[in-house]
Amino acid sequence: MPAADVALDRTLAALADPARRRVIELLLDGPKPAGELAQAQGLSAPAMSRHLRVLRTRGLVAAERGDPVDSRLHIYRLRRGPFKRLRSWLDDIEDYWQDQLSAFKAHAERGARGRRT
């Protein structure tokens, strides 16, 4: 499997969990402290911390220390790179069907001319 696919696989594995997907959704609005992300889902700080660690090690989010001691105040933000690969996958599916429809159009209009003559 090409390297890019392995990276995409990791991205998708990280997103396989609904709590982590919700984190991504929340961060689409802008950077947020870990405590707020936990609160938004009714999760404990340690549970959210585990999810954030997965997202961080897969490179989907980055953290900045909001406080030297309290990790709930660390500010999380989305990293764009991995999502570009997701987008590119979606684009592949679109390309697949757009190629198909173009072939259909070309064939149908060739046939239409044939039927008229």
Binding site: L8, D9, R87, E94, Y96, Q100, L101, E109
Partner: protein, 156 residues
Amino acid sequence: MRPTDSVTVTTVVALAPDAAFAVFTDEVDAWWRRGPRFRSRATEDGTLAFTGGRLVETFADGERYEVGRVLHWEPGARLVFEWRDRSFAATESTEVEVRFVPDARGTRVTLVHRGWDRLGPNHPGRRGARGHAFLDVLGLWWADLTVSLRALTGRH
């Protein structure tokens, strides 16, 4: 199902809807593109046909590969069929809907491919064949985020 769990493509064809629908279905083998990216075998193209309520690819050695059942057949207006890759489990399927709408230039044909959220995170599509790179990851539910992700990465 949220509407972002889908891919939509469209074209306009210079035929009336009835004729466009007939070409789309009766002549599917003539227009459906060839090669491993579009057909079910890597080495050989079979013959595609909507037959017996199914979309089937038939090969020279007699194999009949069923792409999926036809779920809705409304000539001149709407066609819905299941779409599955060889790597899918027997119970797994996605869905393709094609609408034919009259347009000043003929017929607007709009195709929607949806249903990835029905596939489990570990479904066999993730081990999909070379040339089907996008199928490797079909099973993971992420499409809900599609619109936002596209905004994030600066397209559409």
